[in-house]
């Protein structure tokens, strides 16, 4: 063998190239706090536990199946759903015709939170961020001419999981498909809802019972169905870094395992049916390492329960490219981002994948943008020849070293969770939420000061308004849904419905499997809202408590001058007005995504604002009352679920009614450009879209106040 230069020689050469700077000057600290060096060699693999494994065998670092994509490529599974069941059904069928392989249903927020379309709290939510489902009749239309014994369907549902899963089972039955033939996945991952997203209904304890009931029922009667999809995606979207995503997700998973074991199920009865769902961001190799590390860690953890079936230790996962990494500015760039994230997911060995549409930072995807998103995967799958080899990055010095670093760091967090008594207790303590929020706020600060590049947002900006078509869901949908609901309520046997609902309430009180008793109610055409209420009578509806962090944004932001200048502005305001500028950060409707509003709150407090935070899920009237009582100068509405066109005019009206017409209203979140003029005409003073830096927003708010 030739005598190649050693590492020392390389260092000499590198130092020369760097004009005398040490090689260490090229080290880079990732958001996870993992040090990445400019060069990895065989030395870095010495003593690593996770290398030299084979795909298909525990610990599955290189993939759960022996042949991976060489044998069968991943499932292209696009998450979609909007307006009515009929429209969503037509959309699904066209997608399947165009090469999509599995379905993934998005429900609207009203359904998630267990409200029927005619509930006064959901005026702005019906059919907006997903499809509206009130009864099994809607479900039947949703899956019309889609044979459920052949199609694997994934349903993102956590809060109202009982009526929806029961609805799916009944729909199949009425299609002539028995439950044991059903394949697919129900998300049924309630723990992460208390951390992010907030589409829970009941308090943690009864919610965990529901999860266990479903695992138990599925293990008995729907053996091919994934009874939980343990999801890290939403944590990532809320700002968790990759290590946090793995650690908290697996910790959630372990909590479900314990809940199922408490039911005296054998680990092999249900563990093979637990599936995962990870979010894939822009740090290309980190995301690959994350998926490999996740498989290693899960196999390691489950092995402690003594499974006999190797499938119990096998982590199978769905992935989705990050919605948060998409920009509203220069949106075609998002196609490239999504392609890279798609590659990460595939090189990391995912089992199924959703690729985002490029205009999702603006609104729901259109037919065109959905096609591009789907084709991104098809092109990688069918044109790039990537599928030919299993785990092509296995043995890469860097990827293997990074995989083991993620394992090491994630273990630390998982141990911390364990010390708190498991994930349910940890969530109660507020620890995970605090970690994720700190990570989100730091990241925002890094982006705002250009330490992390986002093309079109903080570098290479173009002076062009985003245009192009977007999909808008009409407010008429709600009326349509309500009319259908009325009709169904009239035509059903209401005695049978009430009897079935009482059975549910009793079962909630005295024990028994809740999914089992929900099925007859669904058959009798009880609504999602009615079933939810019959449980709520016993369980109550959960309200989250809010802990806030402060000082994090400013400590991660290095440009003192900018901070000092905005602080000077708020100080001057204080001198002039006798108090600090006061802003109410408000969430209306059933949109539970609170990352944006939380980051705004902590950053603005760091800038010297007095910040009020509204509870979640407020009506415009609630917000107006709070704004007036607290006498704020500004109401900042955070909106991510397309409810703004209904809710904001109502807020303006309610403010006027309360005598607060002088209060400035601004909006931040996902707002299509075409809606700006409408909002301005209603009196909104400023609209901030994703990508606006916190300091710029604060200065613009001050501009509005100084006028």
């Amino acid at each position: 063998m030739a005598d190649y230069p050693d590492k020392k020689k390389w260092e000499e050469l590198a130092t020369k190239e760097l004009r005398g700077e040490p090689v260490e000057s090229l080290d880079w600290m990732t958001a996870e706090g993992i040090k990445v060096k400019p060069l990895y060699t065989a030395e870095d693999l010495e003593g690593l536990d996770s290398i030299n494994t084979l795909p298909g065998y525990s610990p599955f670092v290189r993939g759960p199946r022996a042949t991976m994509y060489a044998g069968r490529p991943w499932t292209i599974r696009q998450y979609a759903g909007f307006s009515t069941a009929k429209e969503s059904n037509a959309f699904y069928r066209s997608c399947l015709a165009a090469g999509q392989k599995g379905l993934s249903v998005a429900f609207d927020l009203a359904t998630h939170r267990g409200y029927d379309s005619d509930h006064p709290r959901v005026i702005g939510d019906v059919g907006k961020a997903g499809v509206a489902v009130d009864t099994v009749e809607d479900m039947k239309i949703l899956f019309d001419e889609i044979p459920l014994d052949q199609m694997s369907v994934s349903m993102t549902m956590n809060g109202a999981v009982l009526p929806i899963l029961a609805g799916y089972i009944v729909t199949a039955e009425e299609q002539g498909v028995s439950r044991d033939k059903l394949t697919g996945t129900i998300q049924n991952d309630i723990l992460k809802e208390y951390l992010t997203r907030n589409t829970y209904i009941y308090p943690p304890e009864p919610s965990m019972r529901i999860v266990a009931d479903i695992i138990e029922y599925c293990a008995k009667y729907i053996p091919k169905y994934n009874s939980v999809s343990i999801s890290g995606y939403h944590m990532m979207e809320a700002g968790a870094n990759s290590v946090q995503q793995v650690a908290f997700t697996l910790a959630d998973g372990l909590e479900y395992v314990k809940a199922a074991l408490d039911r005296r199920l054998d680990i092999d009865d249900f563990a093979p049916r637990l599936s995962f769902f990870f979010g894939i961001g822009m740090n290309f190799f980190m995301e690959i390492a994350m998926l490999r590390a996740a498989r290693y860690l899960w196999a390691d953890e489950i092995s402690k329960f003594g499974p006999k079936n190797p499938r119990s230790m096998m982590l199978r996962t769905h992935c989705q490219t990050s919605g948060w990494s998409l920009t509203q500015q220069d949106p075609y760039n998002n196609i490239i981002r999504t392609t890279l994230e798609c590659l990460s997911a595939v090189l990391g060995g995912t089992q199924s994948l959703h690729t985002n549409s490029f205009n999702e930072a603006l609104a729901l995807p259109t037919e065109f943008s959905s096609r591009i998103a789907r084709n991104t995967q098809i092109i990688v799958q069918e044109e790039s020849q990537i599928c030919r080899v299993v785990d092509p990055l296995g043995g890469s010095y860097y990827v293997e070293a990074l995989t083991s670093a993620v394992v090491r760091e994630a273990k630390k967090i998982m141990e911390e969770v364990e010390e708190l008594g498991g994930m349910a207790k940890a969530i109660e303590s507020g620890m995970p939420k605090r970690c994720i929020e700190e990570s989100a706020t730091r990241r925002q600060a890094r982006i705002d000061q250009g330490e992390e590049t986002i093309v079109g947002v903080n570098k290479y900006l173009i002076d062009e308004e985003p245009s192009g078509e977007i999909l808008k869901v009409s407010d008429e949908i709600r009326k349509e849904q309500i009319a259908r609901l009325k009709k169904i309520k009239k035509s059903r046997d209401s005695d049978a419905v009430h009897k079935a609902l009482d059975t549910i309430t009793n079962c909630a009180k005295s024990g028994g499997n809740l999914l089992e008793v929900c099925i007859p109610a669904v058959k009798a055409r009880a609504t999602v809202g009615e079933i939810t209420q019959s449980l709520e009578k016993v369980f109550g509806r959960y309200t989250a408590t809010t802990q806030s962090i402060s000082g994090v944004y400013v400590s991660a932001f290095k440009d003192r001058e900018k901070i000092d200048s905005i602080r000077k502005r708020t100080d001057e305001f204080m001198k002039r007005e006798g108090r600090r500028p006061r802003i109410l950060v408000a969430k209306m409707g059933q949109d539970g995504h609170d990352r944006g509003s939380r980051v705004v709150a902590t950053a603005f407090a760091d800038f010297g604002f007095d910040v009020d935070i509204s509870p979640m899920f407020q009506t415009p009237g609630d917000v107006a009352k709070m704004a007036v009582e607290n006498d704020v100068h500004v109401v900042g509405v955070s909106t991510l679920a397309a409810g703004h066109k209904t809710l904001v005019p109502q807020l303006m009206y309610a403010l006027k009614e309360e005598g607060g017409a002088d209060i400035t209203v601004i909006i931040g979140g996902i707002v299509p450009h075409g809606d700006f003029d409408f909002l301005y005409s209603k009196g909104v003073k400023a609209v901030f879209v994703p990508g606006t830096s916190m300091i710029d927003s604060a200065n613009l708010v001050m501009d509005a106040l100084d006028k």
Partner: protein
């Protein structure tokens, strides 16, 4: 009515008419540090003073995490059911560095805050002259004039502000938790002495027994302290704000206390004393502020302070010298 934002009558009439917007604006004036606002606010408070004094003034404190907001929500909901109207004044700490603050009180009082008969006003602690309690006391008066018959003052943490709040309310309730190591939970003995009752919160689920044990401990402790009133021994309750358990008992205690002190004349006496103590504390504060602003004093303080630390002059002589400058 035509709006004249400089006219005290505009605010006085608005508050008396129970106009939520004007009530809230008046509180802003009271909290303001701007001299013209302060003057206007003093005028308004004076004019509204005759309409105040009819409410139950309740102070609630306890360490962070004891469940103050949840307790206040449960009590508030209970009171509103009994036809009361409730004003909640909450003080949130401001950051010393940015001056800003985050006020998330209402996220923990969601149900109460949406009710018409409840008025909840969180206030940042920092940035205004005269301290938290000046503002809170005056705000309390305004809320009484606006017809609220129960005023709840919530303070966060445990320190000086709790002690002063105890001096502006009729009833001072201390919330505690069972089974958190140190029985005192960082609560200063002085605060326990001021408590008119202790409620051990979160007595739900696995915590019930622990709470009942803690109840005995606190009862014993309170017996050792010298009572503030001739006719009142502070009771200890076990409650769960989350489950709305024993909230009614706490309220009954407040009423019993009121009845006893009313009949003995101690309540009137207490309020009179509070008013006088109030004047003195404002005087002290004002004098101190005036002293600090005095141009004669300002120039010489650093020099004299240096002399004191260097030991070339005694603290007594230094203070005497500085005070004499005020007479010039």
């Amino acid at each position: 009515m035509k709006m004249n934002l400089d006219d005290p009558q505009y605010y006085v009439q608005g508050v008396l008419a129970k106009d939520r917007r004007i009530l809230s604006k008046t509180i802003t004036l009271i909290e303001s540090s701007q001299p013209s606002h302060i003057e206007l606010a003093l005028d308004i408070v004076d004019r509204l003073l005759p309409y105040s004094g009819n409410a139950v003034r309740l102070g609630i404190t306890g360490i962070p995490g004891v469940g103050k907001s949840t307790f206040i929500q449960s009590l508030g909901l209970y009171l509103i059911k009994k036809e009361h109207s409730v004003a909640v004044l909450a003080v949130d700490p401001s950051s010393a560095r940015s001056g800003g603050s985050i006020m998330a009180d209402k996220t923990r009082m969601e149900k109460l805050s949406s009710l018409k008969k409840a008025f909840i006003r969180p206030s940042p602690s920092g940035g205004t002259l005269g301290g938290v309690t000046r503002k809170t006391r005056e705000t309390m008066i305004i809320c009484e004039a606006a017809g609220f018959d129960v005023i709840i003052i919530e303070t966060v943490g445990v320190g000086q502000s709790e002690i002063s709040v105890a001096y502006i309310v009729d009833f001072f309730l201390l919330l505690m938790l069972a089974g958190i190591g140190d029985e005192m939970q960082g609560i200063k003995r002085g605060i326990i002495e001021l408590a008119d009752a202790i409620a051990i919160n979160k007595a739900d689920g696995e915590n019930v027994q622990k709470s009942e044990k803690a109840q005995v401990v606190y009862e014993r402790l309170l017996n050792l302290l010298s009572p503030s009133y001739a006719h009142w021994i502070p009771p200890v309750h076990v409650c769960s704000a989350l489950e709305m358990k024993n909230i009614d008992k706490v309220w009954e205690t407040v009423l019993q206390h009121r009845a006893k002190l009313n009949s003995s004349g101690e309540l009137e006496e207490k309020r009179k004393k509070q008013a006088l103590a109030w004047m003195w504390s404002l005087l002290e504060e004002g004098l101190k502020e005036r002293f600090n602003r005095n141009t004669n004093v300002q120039g010489i303080i650093p020099e004299i302070a240096d002399q004191v630390t260097a030991g070339t002059i005694t603290p007594t002589a230094a203070a005497y010298k500085l005070l004499r400058l005020l007479d010039k």
